[in-house]
Symmetry: C2
Subunit: 338 residues, 2 copies
């Protein structure tokens, strides 16, 4: 594997000159002919700068890490794609870290990535990162952007308008004529869950409807959680909701399954709308009405912001302005005319 020295020797120049040319450093002029010789030599030898050597010297790795809660959560695929795209444009490589892999040794993984100097910054889309860790990162002045999460201690974040998306979903149900609306919420204690609930409350309030706690249960953003939440709500006595907003696609799968098992027909007896759009919503029983959030864009902007922070520009809190899109399928209809 050719080194800079090899290139310099072949081009009959000093290594420092070769370095300048190959990096495209324009602050010092180089004779065009010399330039040519160096470029030719590098091409001939298939030269690539050694990342460790460069990184040791410059203290930059041109690498960032993206910490996601769980690759199984299909909602993150769009985020991942957006991150990869913009990262490639900006010249970063991306470590994709599934937080399942680090549950039991968070410290260790962050240690390896940050303290060992492997990455220039962190994109954290992991809602449950422990607070001690968060503040530790801050103390070390590690460039960090929280993705899809506003945190008090976080210096920088990029989120979509979860409240607005949720409000739209509920407004749609109300528009269909529903008055008793159930809510399968997100994972307690997470920021997205809070904001989605806020949207639900806002939409209900706008139409003079109450937020009934017996029609609300936590779905934890998982399929099993969705099952449990729906089971719990149906077990509560009194009138049952004629429609549900489920704060996450995976949970909606579980919720639909429970409705089916109970013999409740969707959408004839009960309507369901879920947050997060994905192909599989076309194939559920019945096909599921969803809210599509601008997640790809969120991923892109996250990288962009992290890049700026790495360059010592000031941090920021960004809300992606693109409006949520309701994707109407077969799981929603007017309430049964009792």
């Amino acid at each position: 594997m050719a080194s800079l020295k090899d290139v310099a020797r072949l081009a009959n120049v000093d290594a420092s000159t070769a370095s300048r040319v190959l990096r495209g450093d324009t602050r010092q002029a180089v004779r065009p002919e010399t330039r040519e010789r160096i470029l030719r030599a590098a091409a001939e030898l298939g030269y690539r700068p050694n990342a460790s050597a460069r990184s040791l010297r410059t203290r930059r790795s041109d690498t960032i890490a993206l910490i996601v809660p769980d690759i199984d959560n299909v909602a993150f695929h769009a985020v991942i794609a957006g991150v990869e795209t913009r990262a490639a444009e900006l010249g970063y490589l991306v470590f994709l870290v599934d937080s399942r892999a680090i549950r039991d040794n968070e410290e260790d993984v962050y240690g390896r990535l940050i303290a060992e100097g492997r990455v220039d910054g962190l994109l954290i889309a992991y809602a449950r990162m422990t607070d001690p860790l968060a503040s530790q990162l801050q103390r070390r002045h590690v460039p960090v952007v929280f993705v899809n999460r506003r945190a008090e201690q976080a210096p920088a974040s990029v989120v979509v308008d979860d409240a607005e998306g949720s409000a739209q979903a509920v407004e749609y149900l109300i528009g269909l004529g529903h008055r008793r609306i159930g809510f399968v919420a997100g994972a307690a204690g997470t920021d997205t869950a809070r904001r989605r609930e806020e949207g639900v409350r806002r939409a209900l309030a706008r139409h003079g409807l109450a937020f009934e706690s017996r029609w609300v249960a936590e779905g934890r953003y998982t399929e099993a959680g969705g099952r449990e939440a729906m089971t719990r709500i149906l077990a509560n006595g009194g009138e049952r909701p004629t429609a549900f907003y489920v704060a996450n696609l995976l949970s909606a799968l579980g919720a639909l399954a429970v409705l089916r098992e109970r013999g409740l027909r969707v959408p004839d007896d009960v309507s369901v709308v879920a947050m997060d759009e994905h192909v599989i919503a076309n194939h559920t029983q019945p096909p599921l009405t969803t809210v599509a959030m601008p997640l790809g864009r969120m991923g892109e902007e996250s990288v962009q912001l992290l890049h700026r922070i790495i360059q010592h520009e000031p941090p920021d809190h960004i809300v992606i302005p693109d409006p949520p899109q309701l994707v109407i399928r077969a799981s929603t209809a007017p309430p049964p005319t009792a």
Copy 2:
């Protein structure tokens, strides 16, 4: 950020001594008391060795890359999880590279990973990697393991028994009484598609049934491909199959949708079984019978093998012995009694 020098100074020893102790080098003895001092100093300073410096010196990065075709393909989630698990055990960090991100500049990504010395080896689960690239890797003696793919030029590979899994699926259909069995195949030219087709042929032959090409179409491992394949097969005249084996879960979603649109009831009119198990199979319309392959195990063994190759042990070709498991749901039944 504390360096080795800082630790050495605090412990009153030379950096080389500190290095030996902290790496756990046993070839040279160290007085227990000295050892203690060094360990204490390192802990106090929160010392972590700089990865670039170490890597520059040792020419190892303790990092590997996993190239997957497409994160959207849920079948890969289990592979990814297996890889992450074993990699963590062996002390590797993992670059997860989605091949969509590199479609247009394959060379560049591999260049950055390999030629710049960022990774010690490659796990390639990307069926369509171009051959020039494959042989280039070989020429450079890059440690490579092909995952879920046997390739002629590949020096090492780990696969599951795709033929056996496919044969089991078809045997199951035959056992239910089906005689006309359609096949939505994988992506042409990929090794898995070849092996899955082989399994289909084997099972059919075993029962004296013919492999009818008018009942076969390529599903390309995508949802859209599944739709097209099913559409094409149904368009062919003559008797239509009473059951289908679909070589991939995503394609099965598309295939099911087409059947539904044509008014064909599953499983009453047509049975469907798909390769690849995933939660969403519980939620399709109807819930889908699948074949679960030992994909997590395949991921684990791939890392293990790559690790051995990095250590200069001989390469190998491994077939994961765990038998495929049929997961029977509601999409399969005996053929209609015409």
